[in-house]
Symmetry: C2
Subunit: 466 residues, 2 copies
């Protein structure tokens, strides 16, 4: 499935037709992307998907089957003629891919003709919500296993073709490699894998299977030891093969446990291997892992060197989705907002910038400012009128840059390696209390005095008018 411009919700096209019909198509609009709640009840998210999004936006078109289909749905000829020439010619300003981001703050802004900005809404959210969710999940797993090898094994349980970008995002969040060959091919990530139970089953016995596999992969041999009985058959056979390999001047790289009590089995395996002078053989483990199970294995001092993580990583269990939204903040050069009974759902007007304030190298607070404001010395809680923060003693840096201009990519995210390193360096600057799993500290995101006063003025006006 190649993504075309019908990769959207019907109402985006319905709206686009209304804009077209009323001569509003080319009025300038600014839309903000932000989320309201950090995934996994955590304290942050790792922003991912930007490069994927920019590439798709750059090439987005309605193909002939799209136009034919829309004609069949009753869209008007004149509008379809317009769509025939559609391309996304707007600007995108964004924080860097791999940036650590927080609820409420804008992470990306689309500034384009209303018709274009409307049509791409669904696409923007679909790409960014998912990759950000998975990169965040991966970073949590990395945080409990900083010195272990982490491999993404999830494709078979991934949400269909979602698995493709899941592997990309997992790498950004700190995984070392993936089993997903196609993702490895397209994104230039390391790929890895071991052997299958079915191979062991298909050979006359386990020892034969291990010997055949080791001779086919002498330099990269990891034996799967749980097809029949891990301790009585798998590990003893692996030891036999490791000794035979030593006779040929080779070394068995590792064994993999894929079932049973991983803490107990890894300890027994380590002892059996060490007793046979195989201290160099590494132990890999897989089977329903996530950050909590790995943390528990670590607390039990399970001697596991490599973790293969599948389902819980690639589907972002238990959340399954990030709640990112795309909200109009300017139309025809006029700042605008959506009211709500709930102040937390009121959107913020203006074209924006984010300033990140830090102290002694530690990230401390983010301020949402208008794009023409310079350093501010005080910011306000977006929801609580009585809370403010003095920022005068902090260093600051702007986080958003223009990445797409007139539909052309003017700043890429760089290769995946660079994005991954950036995410890792930014997480290292975030104090640990924001990274803990249980009741993390809430990172301060505030609004500038200008945004605050304009928002409050708008709320009053709108409430009076209605």
């Amino acid at each position: 499935m190649d993504i075309t411009a019908t990769y959207t919700d019907l109402y985006e096209l319905t709206m686009a037709q209304v804009y077209h019909r009323n001569g509003l198509s080319d009025k300038k609009a600014v839309f903000d992307v932000f989320f309201r709640r950090s995934p996994f009840n955590g304290g942050y998210a790792v922003f991912a998907g930007l490069s994927t999004l920019l590439d798709i936006l750059h090439d987005l078109r309605f193909d002939p089957s799209d136009l034919e289909y829309l004609l069949g749905l009753g869209f008007e000829d004149d509008f379809l003629d317009h769509l025939k020439k559609f391309r996304f010619k707007g600007d995108v300003r964004s924080v860097r891919e791999g940036e650590i981001v927080f609820p409420t703050e804008v992470i990306l802004q689309v500034e384009a003709d209303m018709l274009e900005a409307q049509i791409v809404e669904t696409l923007v959210l679909n790409i960014l919500n998912f990759q950000t969710l998975i990169a965040t999940k991966a970073s949590r797993i990395r945080s409990v296993a900083p010195d272990k090898v982490l491999i993404d094994f999830g494709l078979r349980r991934a949400q269909g073709m979602g698995g493709y970008h899941a592997s990309r995002a997992a790498y950004i969040g700190g995984f070392d490699s993936t089993s997903n060959v196609r993702a490895g091919r397209d994104f230039g990530m390391p790929v890895s894998g071991t052997m299958a139970h079915s191979f062991v089953q298909s050979r006359p016995d386990e020892l034969t299977a291990f010997r055949e596999y080791s001779s086919a992969r002498p330099d990269d041999c990891v034996l799967l030891v749980d097809t029949y009985n891990t301790l009585r058959s798998g590990i003893p056979n692996a030891i036999t093969v490791a000794k035979e390999m030593e006779g040929q001047g080779r070394r068995l790289k590792g064994i993999r446990l894929d079932s049973g009590d991983l803490a107990y089995l890894s300890r027994e395996a380590r002892r059996m291997l060490d007793d046979n002078g195989l201290g160099y053989v590494r132990i890999a483990a897989s089977n329903q892992l996530d950050e909590y199970v790995i943390r528990s294995l670590k607390e039990q001092e399970a001697p596991i060197d490599v973790y293969g993580v599948g389902t819980n990583l690639v589907v972002g269990y238990p959340d399954g989705a990030l709640d990112g939204v795309y909200k109009l903040s300017m139309f025809n050069d006029v700042p605008c907002m959506k009211l709500s009974e709930n102040v937390k759902k009121v959107t913020l007007p203006f074209k924006k910038q984010i300033f990140r304030y830090s102290n002694d190298g530690w990230t401390g607070a983010d301020a949402i400012v208008t794009d023409d404001e310079s350093k501010i010395d005080v910011m306000y809680d977006p929801f609580d009128p009585y809370r403010s923060l003095d920022l005068s003693s902090y260093e600051y840096e702007p986080l958003m840059n223009k990445v797409l201009e007139g539909g052309e990519i003017i700043q890429t995210s760089g290769d995946l390696e660079r994005i991954r390193e950036y995410a890792s360096s930014r997480l290292a600057q975030l104090p640990p209390e924001y990274k803990r799993f249980e009741n993390p500290h809430i990172y301060k995101v505030g609004i500038s005095p200008r945004i605050r006063s304009e928002r409050d003025r708008f709320i009053k006006e709108l409430r009076m008018v209605k």
Copy 2:
């Protein structure tokens, strides 16, 4: 992203090379697909994804970039020459798409040369696990709203490109339409949608926005009433426009509530509409819905006619994945199995068939039999040696048919409409106790006397040998 044969885990290719090297590539293998636990703690699953899978299997190839990439990974020339000619030439036997299926029973069998069967494992699971999960979720939502209109709104929060097949599966599970235009185009499903908050924001006021929208969509006008204030502004403005439409001989189709307390607001909205003689205007609701919220709204007698369900549907919340597996059951014409410490994880040998037994039109029990067995009169619990079921008074039907032969599709699932109707008719035959959400009755799946005795003999032999 077009799916090529590298849409797989690396270990499938590593294994394939070992088979190739050891002259085992063309030995016949049979793999079973089954799952161990019904999703959502429910009592069944709706099998979906078959047609997608068959189309992909039929066209699966390694393209030149795949082969170049694998060469770079160190795969051997001779093996890559073999992959250059790769196509899937095996057979697939399967239950019908839309069938109601249960844990432990095989739902699809792949019979092919070992190399081919191994390479497609990841793909088979990736497609079937996800669509089955979502069709099942959709069927649960349908079960609490049998007479309501259900629309899939999920693409923006879907797991990246997973959203494409999520919409397909939701339709199979009983949804009426989707907002996902591309899925509607490709799968021939009805699409629907209303209006956007941003449209209302972009117009001088809400009433102007409603008037413009209604004149652009006079026959299909659903007004979104919560941009500013639902009861004080949105609904009164909608009533004004409905009256104006009546003056032109048109009828407002509906209003949509997208925030707030849907039970309270829908009741108030109904009353306000009815008081103005607008009993025909329907009420649509959306915002974080799932089967539990809709059931609760129904219990509160909320007068809602149309539900738009997004995130929780398309990501299969809270499960996120179905645990389907792909296990070797025959190799080189010899039945085989994988042992495990846990009897529930022992696989079943043989090429298989499923017989479904029913009584008075009600589905009652499924038996896993070998593919050459005819009607059996007793089946055994797969895990508990002391439990059996007398089947002599039941009607029965075989569930699996050959759908792919020698790589060619010989039986299609038919169009989506037909699959959806089949799912609905099969769910209607399933007694309600299997469909309830809380502690559903466990549907009986048993094994034939032959499978039982062979399995027990294998376990003894394998335990003795190892």
